[in-house]
């Protein structure tokens, strides 16, 4: 591969892979489990009720049950295997976040592209005193970065860090 066109060698650039990443809170996994249970318990009761009624052919219930089980197993693998992957890292000019077992994504958001920052807490995460940090960039929401499962002090520290960077960049402009 020839890079005669570029003034710099790609190999000399800072590599985002070298950054030491930090895991989210352990208890966030419990919350993920709770979410799975809250979703699948009602879904599993449906086909079981289906067996009780004669009007619904039993093959429909069996098929539904099989499909549901497959989705459930995949979801469980995603939670169990995916949890250790959920990590975030901070560099001088950007934030890195990675997640997902079946669909592994690594996102890098530079601080000077962040529009505003939000710390959120849903009803379930209040139970576990967990917070999620949302970094908004301009444009579609697909570009926003959401880090779930942080404790309060980390979330606030991260927010302060990001805000500090965004304003600092603005001042030096």
């Amino acid at each position: 591969m020839s890079f005669q066109n570029l003034a710099l060698d790609l190999k000399d650039l800072p590599d985002f892979k070298t950054v030491k990443l930090e895991a989210v809170q352990k208890r966030y996994k419990k919350l993920l489990w709770l979410n799975v249970i809250a979703l699948f318990v009602p879904l599993f009761t449906l086909p079981i009720f289906g067996f009780l009624f004669d009007e619904i052919p039993s093959w429909i219930s069996v098929l539904f049950l099989c499909l549901l089980s497959v989705i459930f197993i995949l979801r469980v693998i995603e939670v169990e295997k995916g949890f250790p992957i959920r990590k975030f890292g901070i560099r001088q000019y950007d934030m890195i976040y990675q997640s997902g077992f079946f669909h592994y994504t690594e996102t890098v958001v530079p601080y000077n592209r962040i529009q505003h920052v939000e710390i959120k807490q849903g009803p379930l995460s209040r139970l576990f005193t967990l917070y999620s940090l949302r970094l908004y960039t301009a444009g579609a929401s697909s570009g926003d970065l959401i880090i779930d499962g942080l404790d309060k002090s980390t979330a606030q520290k991260l927010k302060a860090k990001v805000l500090d960077k965004t304003t600092e960049v603005n001042v030096t402009d």
Binding site: F102, H103, T105, V108, G143
Partner: protein, 510 residues
């Protein structure tokens, strides 16, 4: 134009009542179109309840008129010292204020109804969350242009006074950004009719065919319901019995559909892009097109995110290209929201490109990363799923050697298209730009200035994790662009490079 006092809250043009009424009515009808199907399910509805239905409909229309009239009466706008103010809403009143500095674009447009009623639609675009966008449906043309220049004037005043406190070179830029009044506009490009026809011919004819198919499907369903309702005969059975015998009929039908689809494509293109003009307005471009619905859009240098060039073999023969410009927005841009400039020569594209980006288009050199051949399997599995569906449908509807051979033909075609897609897909990058190439028979280049990227993401599904490939997703302020199946190490290098560029270039993205 200065004699108009904009500070008094005023209503829309009087004809606006009718415009609002008709558009609302059309909307209601579209929302409730399924009611048309009711007579097919229930016999004798009209005979039994005819008068009630007509009275009810009449009442609804009157109610709609009253509602439209009220919404016209409550819709008031004015310019105060700091912002554009708007009150609207019949039941829920709302007040919108747009500070001058947040105004990004002002668009005037006329659809066919607005042309008949001799009014223009007035749109104010903002860079923000999209909720504050303002649409005024009906204004007198002179008033609308006066309002537009007044708003631009206010914005300019504001920016000049702001900038005079800061650096001087920004002042020039700001002045240019705002756009100067109409006198200084110069016509950069005008699409003549011959080129327009060429554009129509070189457009994707499947759009027209699709429209035609949709129309036929609707007509067929409608007719079948209608006919079986009144006569005791089964259209479907009848057609099904005869089709296998008359292959010539089918081939004629297909040919006919293609020809008519082709004509429809040309016609819609001509209607849409009739008399396309590109006006240069200092740093900005104003684009105007359309026969029945005249659209006026502004391309702003700072708001431009993605510059897309599209060609295909027919366009190459005609030596024309289309350019689609995506501007910053709060949501993913649809095809329709991109600003389309069609029938441009290479020279026009050069001119447009170099004035938008200050880079000479012809001098561009890139380093390339190519999508790997494994990408083919992704497309292959997708078409496999599609074909499975079609085969199942064919099995239940008419299962014979014709349908099977047609399906196999379609499958081979899809595979061929997939191969082309994999071959075309790559990403080029240099000091300032990335250029993503996509397409199958046609070719699209999406060019983005690196400093306008918002974030970069590597995305790998479970298979890609095993075979060391990655998709690179580039987020811009007008949606995301994906490059599929790069080698993992290349994707990482690319991400590192782009992030380094975003962070080291001292330029704001807007």
């Amino acid at each position: 134009m200065s004699q108009i006092d904009f500070s008094v809250p005023r209503l829309q043009s009087f004809n606006g009542i009718f415009l609002i009424f008709f558009t609302d009515l059309a909307k209601r009808i579209r929302q409730n179109i399924y009611i048309l199907a009711v007579p097919f399910f229930k016999n004798n509805v009209f005979r039994d309840y005819g008068t009630y239905i007509y009275i009810g409909l009449g009442l609804l229309v009157i109610l709609q008129f009253v509602f439209s009239y009220l919404s016209y009466k409550k819709f008031k706008f004015s310019i105060q010292e700091d912002a554009f103010h708007l009150d609207h809403g019949v039941i829920k009143l709302s007040h919108v204020e747009i500070p001058f500095e947040r105004i990004q674009n002002i668009n005037l447009q006329q659809n066919i109804l607005q042309q008949v009623l001799n009014v223009v639609g007035f749109e104010i675009e903002t860079a923000g969350e999209g909720t504050a966008e303002i649409k005024i449906k009906a204004l007198d043309k002179e008033f609308a242009t006066a309002l537009k220049s007044k708003l631009i004037e206010e914005k300019k005043k504001l920016e000049v006074s702001e900038d005079s406190q800061t650096k001087t070179h920004e002042l020039d830029e700001a002045k240019n950004e705002v756009g100067t009044p109409a006198e200084e506009e110069s016509l950069l490009f005008k699409l003549d009719f011959k080129t327009l026809i060429k554009v129509g011919i070189s457009s994707n004819l499947f759009r027209g065919v699709g429209l035609l198919m949709a129309f036929f499907a609707y007509l067929y369903n409608f007719l079948r319901d209608f006919v079986t309702q009144f006569y005791d005969f089964n259209l479907e059975e009848d057609v099904k019995d005869r089709i296998p015998e008359t292959i010539t009929f089918i081939s004629f039908l297909i040919l006919g559909v293609l020809v008519i689809g082709f004509l429809i494509t040309i016609m819609t293109t001509v209607l849409k892009y009739f008399d396309l003009r590109i006006l240069k307005n200092q740093q900005n471009y104003e684009v105007e097109y359309g026969l029945f619905k005249r659209v006026n859009k502004v391309i702003k240098k700072t708001k431009t995110q993605i510059f897309e060039i599209r060609t295909n073999p027919v366009k190459n023969v005609f030596k024309i290209r289309s350019v689609y410009v995506s501007q910053a927005s709060s949501h993913q841009l649809t095809e329709k929201q991109k600003i389309g400039l069609v029938g441009l020569s290479l020279k026009n594209v050069n001119l447009l490109f170099s004035s938008l980006f200050q880079i000479d288009f012809e001098d561009l050199k890139y380093d390339y990363f190519k999508s790997q051949n494994r990408l083919f399997f992704r497309y292959f599995y997708r078409s496999l799923f599609l074909m499975l569906g079609l085969f199942v449908a064919a099995y239940f509807l008419f299962f014979n050697w014709i349908s099977i051979s047609v399906l196999i033909l379609i499958f081979l075609l899809l595979i061929y298209v997939s191969v082309l897609k994999v071959r075309k897909s790559n990403i080029g990058f240099n000091d300032d730009l990335v250029s993503i190439r996509k397409g199958s028979i046609d070719t699209k280049f999406k060019m983005i200035e690196i400093y306008k990227l918002q974030s970069v993401r590597l995305s790998r599904n479970i298979f890609q994790q095993f075979n060391d490939h990655a998709d690179v997703v580039l987020e811009t302020a007008s949606g995301s662009v994906t490059v599929e199946y790069l080698k993992l190490n290349e994707a990482r290098d690319l991400l590192n490079y782009l992030i380094y560029k975003i962070e080291s270039v001292d330029k704001d993205w807007i």
